[in-house]
């Protein structure tokens, strides 16, 4: 009885501290809070998220400790970029293991499918590396939080900056699945809105490697000035490499709309210098991010991507909400999440909107020239801050049925 009283008291104090209301007695299903993480751990996106994301979430769980005396458990699995594998694993975790919250790392196709499952189970889902903006637009659900970025934000940030700098005629090389189509569409929208033209696009099957030459040839014969690379991971790396080999980067400017620091690292600054990119976090942005990255580096021996930092922040944010709500009940936690400000090493002004979009300031960055890079992983200079309310889909534009 004393124990129950104590834990309720702690819950109440925690709730009072952040200004949320919590029930008098804390309730946790199965007496444990289970967080699950599905991502690509072995395939093309595994450097952006993968094992690094797993380690980041382990750090989050460890740093947070127990919630009102209840343990936090962490499960993770490789979804192999297969939607059916991801769906089956999520159902198994929800139905048999009593999972309370699911984080989906990479792969937009998987994220769209999992959002439906989380909604059916009435449990929160955080999408991190999966970029498609459909998650909080046409296919929004009340249980989904889209955390780090989305195709709209990177399209507006990077695409907008390039059109503003005079790059008006675009041709797209697009990954042939949910993510690529979203990225191409969202970038095309901003290009057209700013008075630019989209001359054409070509879709590539994922994992084509040596075949990019054929596709890039078509891009070059389009006479467009900007080659929009609506693809990511390994494919993006090989597309940039092939474009350099064929001298396409001399007649066209390459725009990697969504590129992670691991990809810059793999290609080297010679091939990537001057490229614009949009992200919400960079390991070297302030003292707090550097301190966290140092801890991460000790485990992974490389610097974290914004996605891996977002994995850490997403899980921490969820655990804070569980603590504040005094329960792991999906509806109550979502209500708490949507009424609490987020302030940690990832962002200082984050907030989860009604449609599930975590809105915070984004940054337009440019890749440094080799001569300007002073120490290992010193890759970006920040060009400007894009305020959160300008970066993402607005209430006037949304197609999310319950947030109009």
């Amino acid at each position: 009885m004393t124990k129950l009283f104590k834990s309720s008291a702690i819950a109440l104090c925690a709730a009072a501290a952040i200004g949320a209301s919590a029930p008098a007695t804390a309730q946790y299903s199965g007496d444990v809070i289970r967080v699950g993480f599905l991502t690509d751990i072995s395939g093309v996106y595994s450097d952006n998220d993968g094992q690094g994301g797993v380690e980041a979430i382990k750090m989050a769980v460890q740093d947070f400790g127990n919630i009102n005396g209840k343990k936090v458990e962490f499960l993770y699995a490789d979804h192999l970029n297969k939607v059916d594998v991801a769906s089956a694993k999520a159902r198994e975790w929800f139905d048999q293991q009593g999972l309370d919250m699911l984080v989906i790392g990479a792969n937009s196709g998987a994220a769209l499918a999992l959002a439906k499952i989380a909604q059916e189970k009435k449990k929160p889902m955080f999408a991190v590396t999966a970029a498609t903006a459909r998650l909080t637009n046409e296919e929004c659900t009340p249980y989904n939080v889209h955390y780090a970025y989305d195709t709209v934000a990177v399209a507006r940030g990077t695409g907008g900056a390039i059109v503003d700098a005079g790059g008006k005629d675009w041709f797209f090389l697009t990954a042939d699945y949910a993510f690529g189509s979203s990225l191409e569409k969202d970038t095309s929208d901003i290009v057209k809105a700013k008075g630019g033209r989209v001359i054409g696009s070509v879709k590539h099957p994922v994992g084509t490697a040596v075949n990019f030459s054929s596709l890039l040839q078509q891009a070059q014969s389009s006479k467009a000035k900007i080659l929009g690379l609506a693809t990511s991971g390994d494919d993006l790396i090989n597309a940039i490499k092939t474009a350099n080999e064929f001298g396409i980067n001399k007649s066209m400017n390459l725009a990697a709309i969504l590129i992670h620091i691991t990809e810059i690292h793999a290609l080297g600054l010679n091939l990537t210098q001057g490229m614009y990119l949009t992200d919400g976090w960079y390991w070297d942005q302030n003292a707090e991010s550097r301190a966290w990255s140092k801890r991460y580096f000790e485990v992974m021996k490389k610097m974290p991507t914004a996605m891996q930092a977002a994995d850490y922040s997403a899980v921490t944010t969820y655990l804070k909400a569980v603590k504040a709500a005094g329960t792991d009940d999906g509806d109550k936690v979502m209500a708490t999440l949507k009424s609490t400000k987020i302030s940690d090493m990832f962002t200082k002004n984050g907030a989860v909107r009604g449609d599930g979009r975590m809105v915070y300031d984004m940054y337009l960055r440019q890749v440094k020239a080799p001569a300007d890079s002073k120490y290992p992983w010193d890759y970006y200079k920040t060009v400007k801050t894009i305020p959160g309310d300008q970066a993402y889909t607005t209430k006037a534009e949304t197609k999310c049925a319950f947030w109009k």
């Binding site: 072995s42 879709k203 994992g207 040596v210 075949n211 054929s214 596709l215 064929f246 690292h265």
Partner: protein, 295 residues
């Protein structure tokens, strides 16, 4: 002039670029066909050996300062020796069992090798530049052709046909082929058949590594580079006829060109066309285009 809305000039460029891809198909499927022909092993670790060749090239430059030209010979030699070890220490023990066991061993080995490299280098891999002598591009009328790709086409075709010649037209090749047909009889003539088998596997592995060296400056040197390619290469071998050397070479080149053409008209299918052709060939000529009908 246009064909179905695609200018002839860009069509010619696609055919040529397809030929470059075809060279990789040819080199890799040739190694597979040789290994299958003599050892009856479906070498599913071929993609991993190709990856090893590319990584050896990168490592040669970055750890030992050895240029591309050195590694063009050294990488196939090193990986060939590794192949000899695989045959001696692992494959040899499985010859008495069903073929499936050999295949499973090779799948396991390739996962192991790819996992090992992923652990050390990450999936984004390493960047390798073409040698200075082969950088730049030449205007060949309908396109700017990077000199490196021209080199890849030339050297692959020479290596492919030299291999075909060695196996089909020389005394050593005749002994090899005889060992496939009737190992006991050839053994009775005093030929060391087990040694021949070991060297053949080593040679197949070296061919895969050679393709890896050629690929290193063109694509990112990454642990999964072989896994992405090898499935298509298997389809090429099936289309060409399982153990046919000439079939592997010609089908490899032809399918590369076909892929290039398809990506001019409908790029989404470019990765699938190989399998569509495979399905059609299997229905119409189950032993492949150049394969012998087995009794």
């Amino acid at each position: 002039m246009e064909i179905f809305g695609v200018p002839l000039q860009s069509l010619a460029a696609q055919v040529f670029l397809g030929l470059v891809n075809g060279c990789f198909y040819a080199l890799l499927s040739l190694g597979l066909a040789i290994i299958f022909g003599l050892l009856n092993v479906i070498n599913l670790s071929h993609g991993a050996l190709y990856m090893l060749g590319a990584f050896a090239t990168w490592a040669g430059l970055n750890y030992f300062g050895l240029s591309y030209w050195w590694m063009l010979f050294l990488a196939p030699f090193i990986v060939g020796c590794f192949g000899v070890l695989i045959e001696r220490m692992m494959l040899r023990r499985l010859y008495k069992l069903d073929h499936l066991y050999g295949m499973l061993l090779m799948i396991g080995l390739s996962h192991f090798l790819e996992g090992l490299f992923r652990l050390f280098y990450g999936v984004s891999g390493k960047s390798y530049s073409a040698p200075i002598e082969l950088t730049g591009a030449t205007d060949i009328g309908f396109m700017m052709l990077p000199n490196y790709r021209a080199w890849v086409v030339a050297v692959s075709i020479v290596v492919c046909f030299a291999t075909w010649f060695a196996i089909e037209k020389t005394r050593l090749g005749a002994t090899l082929r005889a060992s496939t047909e009737n190992p006991e009889l050839v053994d009775a003539f005093g030929v060391n058949v087990p040694m021949l088998v070991t060297l053949t596997y080593g040679f197949g592995a070296a061919l895969a590594a050679f393709a890896g060296v050629l690929a290193a400056p063109m694509v990112q040197v990454s642990p999964l580079m072989g896994a992405n390619l090898i499935v298509a290469v298997f389809a090429v071998v099936v289309i060409g006829g399982l153990s046919s050397i000439l079939g592997a070479i010609i089908t490899g080149l032809a399918l590369g060109v076909l892929e290039g053409l398809v990506s001019a008209f409908y790029p989404q299918v470019s990765a699938t066309i190989v399998f569509i052709v495979m399905a059609i060939i299997l229905l119409m000529r189950p032993s492949g285009l150049f394969g012998k009908e087995s009794a």
